[in-house]
Symmetry: C2
Subunit: 676 residues, 2 copies
């Protein structure tokens, strides 16, 4: 109906871009029941290629939403990292091998699965939880933002919708996927061959009735996850800072036919003078090769001429690196080329109303398997904070921690990537005197240092109202001031030396007290928007310790306590903060109902009896050994301690059972009191 | 169109009944690509209640088809078995506790999940594989067989369709599910409340266009999985032999509100004089209670009056058993009552063309968690044999082993159940002199003996053309003569003491040689219709042993070898028998391509390069310890041995690497030579 004004509506959260960063953000909104829209200009989801390394931390996060098992089952697990270098006589040889993921840091290892499958898992999870939590939504494809305006006057009003956008709904022709328009037979063939059966629904775009028209949308929050060429970033006038390098790399996803021995390991190959490549074995017999393209050089503007690059060019380069081993292929699923460049955004947010995340605020080389992971972890950091702000569970001040925490991570990532890329792209040194060459010893050293970094588990957020630790919030973050207003609460880190405040809560096996089932404890740190207090109850069969536990519970149940203050009286007692207990007395000497105060296994609403899933014990399992949780968490097995865990699984606070003031002050900084 | 003749068609396999036994059979057909129909008289699938204990072996079988992970994730795992008995002063007390599943026997433990979910997993798996293998089918609901005829003249002709059936397609009214017609508010409410989101498709029956009409179907094989009142069994005139007992039991599926301590463990409770109950904790906070109903007695005909039994009657009985502990509930999901009876069918097959399986040939008490499992395992035993007969991969003679193997299992099951039920239903003895009472010591002893039995892992098939072991096939089975025609081949059991011939191949961790990934070895014994030869290659770095391996491979690749004889020349070399290797040399001292003959990692068709998933090593993993596979399988780590494994994962033959005649004779009994 031409001439009619565009339809106008409101939404709490608009996410621009349905790549991994956007999907992760949407997943939080689905789990928190937030009214959300997520739009993407492409007409269908991705079916092949693109980023596909999965860090341990990403798998842990998937599991916290309930789909880690799907990714872990389908992915190829990377177990071994192998280094091939020229021997003194110039011949290629395996120089060293080592575990790809340092043993003991996670219950997962680095893995590989193509992005289309990961997006499938996100979509299914979003559908399930957005319906279950009363605000159903799905990705709207072929929808493009064309205007955005932030109203300064209402930016601090928690009830306002200060952002006004114009969205354009593309016609079907405009929204056709680039992959099938590329003109490359490989990519086009791929588009269908990689299609999983459960993706067939996404082949035909859902009709919105608005095709070819515009609409006006008012939003409380907007999150731009719209990639390296981010429209959102450009509207805000933010810059990416950094420079491209001279190194050009090609990427081939193939089923290789080769006699190279380490084609099923993650392998770096430095040839004597033909450049480098990296082997990333994938699912279904596929292998990804990252190949240095020495003959392709940037022009005067610093950009490479991509028209020179074809799969044949990349293969020929790989063959030169791998000689005398042979390499051919018949099946190529995808290919691309890129010029390494490291850039970080100057700003990650505008007035804590419009945020940008993922490739929109950092770019770097893909070989460290970081890109998709860091992007997803950006919005994993941001999503729950926005949800808490929308529901007025938290003060808007916590939103500043997004830039403080994630811009610092991006800066650290770029510094690492810079070092690693240079070492990887350089010519191997002939001997110690060859200073222009890269020392293979140094390469190995940096790789080993970087393995923790590459797992995603070394992230250590700085002091803020969400992270009660020593030090200065500006120094520990990107410079943003995010200290708590009161600013007084500091953890007693020595009570749980295996739980560094600011880092993710690691997983060790514990047993359910009631049913003896062994669990990786992290399975209970679900991403559902709740904080958790982990009560290391110690040995509850010691009467003095039992008294301490009783007193701690009595305080928590008292009027105006840290727990009661933020929990609506009609809601379950675990609605906002869930208490999980790990004790250290022998399991068979304890009874759930009599040895633990009711608060630790509360009666459930709607006559559903006691809770049986909140009390765990550090004891020997029948079938899976002993988790040694107290030892691994570094907690005294008699006296225990109290740990507050953020909704995203990062340790926020540690104190004694008597330190109720510390717990009270911590939660005063990150949760609002309920209005009665 | 009245007056028109019924439509007539042919099918290789017709399965009657879509309960767990029928679904398992259909799953085999889907994985083997057999033209199949499966019909059920009910209009929709089951959404609640019914059998739900899952044995270790059932989970292993699910995993071999690719959905063990779904069941394992959703199920409640049973870890501990707890026994409550009256103390000398008559008060209830916990007498003992022990692991519910003996440690070390499986990578799973006994688990519980309602039958509707298990049927969902089957349906999804059947859909996926029947499509992938070119013969798509799904369950046809509301279809009833009304006539069946077997043509004696063509019964031995492998190309014939000797069975003629008349099928009646019910009208929608006739096919309405009994559950929603029961008149019980509980059951009816349940019907919807237990509905999982992925079941919504099954609420509306697919329209066949034949509603209210009949059709004629000719089939090569018919498998009757139509329950205790089996129509198929009655048509064949076969009997169930055995007697009901006087014990009546009620079953309640509730969310309990109780202070009984062991409500989340599998628990038996013998009260002093109020009867017994068993607690089976389930998923989603549910608990199943099996409760002895002392006041309900059979009438003169031996049948109990079920109209006396209500949920309130069962609850009151449970409350008496559990006193002084309290028990109430608000949420009841399902309930029923049964009279214990143990019966076994006289015959399991008619002319190896019509088979009956599951409840149609054995009934027993449900408390041992056996019913659904043994039924599924019946058709897990039968399905691949029928598929091999249809495709003429195997001689029809192997079909006789179904009755020999499974009727014997049913007989053993019934004997165990008889003993266990009597001990469980009896009054506890007051003291040693109380001979009318049941000794709690004896109960515990039988429970412990029965734990292996109850895992499904103690099944030990007798000698036959599929099981090359010492002894007499009639004695070791149900009396059927299933010895091989040649009858000469006997395994050297001493070469693999951890692999008893006739029992399922257990799982220990091994590493992939090429990629170092640890795998439970059983993951590679997939149910895809292929036999496997597991070559324990020993230490291939010893040159004498390497010579033995080379000679073994040379023979296998020779014209007319055990391998070539049954493999079509145009098919992949692993199409009928797949060779998997486990060696014992240090992994990092070996290279897949040079230390192992090509046959062990064959070049794949269609230019897909070497196979990287067939050679494994018994070595230390980076993250998950050492599987000690050689030690656990009881195989000499230097010399190794050769093991043939049936398509259903049972060990069939063991010999030295030089015993190629043994291997040749074994496969001559179970696989036909290809016709060239």
């Amino acid at each position: 109906m031409p001439g009619v004004n565009p339809p106008e509506s409101k939404i709490d959260v608009l996410i621009i871009g349905a790549g991994p960063a956007g999907m992760m953000c949407a997943t939080w909104m689905a789990h928190c029941g937030i009214a959300t829209r997520i739009i993407d200009k492409r007409g269908t989801k991705i079916f092949n290629g693109q980023a596909d390394g999965l860090q341990c931390r990403s798998l842990e996060i998937f599991e916290s939403f309930g789909f880690g098992d799907r990714a872990w089952k389908e992915a190829n697990h990377l177990l071994e990292f192998s280094m091939w270098n020229p021997s003194p006589d110039g011949k290629l040889r395996r120089d060293d091998r080592m575990p790809d993921t340092p043993p003991g840091i996670s219950r997962y290892t680095e893995s590989v699965l193509h992005q289309g499958r990961i997006e499938r898992f996100f979509l299914d999870n979003i559908a399930k939880y957005s319906v279950a939590n009363g605000n159903p939504f799905t990705v709207e494809r072929g929808v493009l933002p064309i205007d955005i305006h932030l109203d300064d006057a209402t930016v601090d009003d928690p009830d306002a919708y200060p952002i006004t956008l114009t969205l354009r709904h593309l016609t079907d022709d405009e929204a056709a996927p680039e992959q099938s328009q590329s003109g490359s037979g490989v990519s086009d063939g791929l588009f269908r061959s990689n299609l999983a059966p459960d993706d067939t629904d996404d082949l035909s775009r859902k009709t919105s009735g608005l095709e070819g028209r515009e609409e006006t949308l008012r939003a409380k929050y907007v999150i731009g996850c719209d990639g390296a060429h981010s429209w959102t970033r450009k509207q805000l006038g933010f810059q990416l800072e950094g420079e491209p390098t001279d190194y050009i790399w090609g990427v081939l996803d193939i089923i290789p036919v080769t006699n190279f021995p380490d084609i099923r390991n993650r392998t770096s190959v430095h040839s004597e003078s033909s450049g480098s490549l990296m082997v990333i074995p994938r699912e279904a017999g596929l292998v990804r090769l990252y190949v240095q393209l020495q003959e392709v050089k940037p022009d005067a503007s610093g950009r490479a001429d991509r028209s020179q690059i074809t799969p044949a060019v990349i293969l020929a380069a790989a063959q030169r690196v791998l000689a005398p081993y042979t390499l051919t292929y018949k099946h190529c699923h995808w290919w691309t080329a890129y010029q390494i460049g490291q850039r970080v955004g100057t700003d990650f947010a505008s007035r804590e109303r419009i945020f940008i995340a993922g490739d929109a605020v950092h770019t770097h080389s893909p070989k460290a398997g970081q890109g998709m992971n860091v992007s997803m972890q950006d919005t994993y950091n941001l999503g729950w904070k926005v949800a808490h702000a929308v529901t007025k569970r938290a003060p808007r001040s916590i939103l500043k921690t997004y830039q403080s925490e994630r811009r610092r991570v991006a800066q650290d990532l770029i510094a690492f990537d810079h070092k690693f890329s240079r070492l990887f792209s350089g010519r191997p040194a002939k001997d110690a005197a060859d200073e222009a060459g890269v020392s293979m010893e140094e390469f190995k050293k940096v790789f080993l240092q970087g393995a923790m970094f590459a797992s995603g588990l070394s992230v250590n957020y700085g002091r803020s109202m969400l992270v009660a630790k020593e030090g200065n919030s500006k120094d520990q973050g990107d410079g943003t001031d995010v200290d708590a207003v009161g600013g007084k609460v500091v953890s007693k880190q020595q009570l749980a030396t295996g739980l560094p405040v600011g880092m993710r809560f690691p997983s060790f096996q514990v047993l359910n007290q009631a049913g003896a089932r062994p669990w990786p404890f992290q399975q209970w740190l679900k991403s559902d928007g709740r904080y958790r207090v982990v009560l290391f109850a110690g040995n509850v069969k010691h009467s003095a310790q039992r008294d301490r536990v009783d007193r701690w519970c009595e305080h928590a149940e008292g009027e105006g306590s840290w727990l009661k203050r933020c929990t609506p009286p009609s809601a379950p007692i675990d609605a906002v903060i869930e208490i999980l207990t790990i004790h250290s007395a022998p399991r068979t000497e304890c009874e759930l109902l009599t040895d633990f105060p009711d608060l630790l296994h509360p009666l459930q609403q709607d006559d559903k009896g006691w809770s049986y899933d909140k009390v765990f014990v550090d004891d020997m399992s029948y079938h899976e050994g002993h988790g040694e949780a107290y030892k691994n968490y570094g907690v005294d097995p008699v006296r225990g301690c109290v740990v507050a865990v953020r909704p995203d699984g990062y340790t926020g606070y540690i104190g004694e059972l008597e330190d109720v003031d510390g717990l009270t002050n911590y939660f005063a900084g990150c949760l609002l009191a309920i209005s009665r």
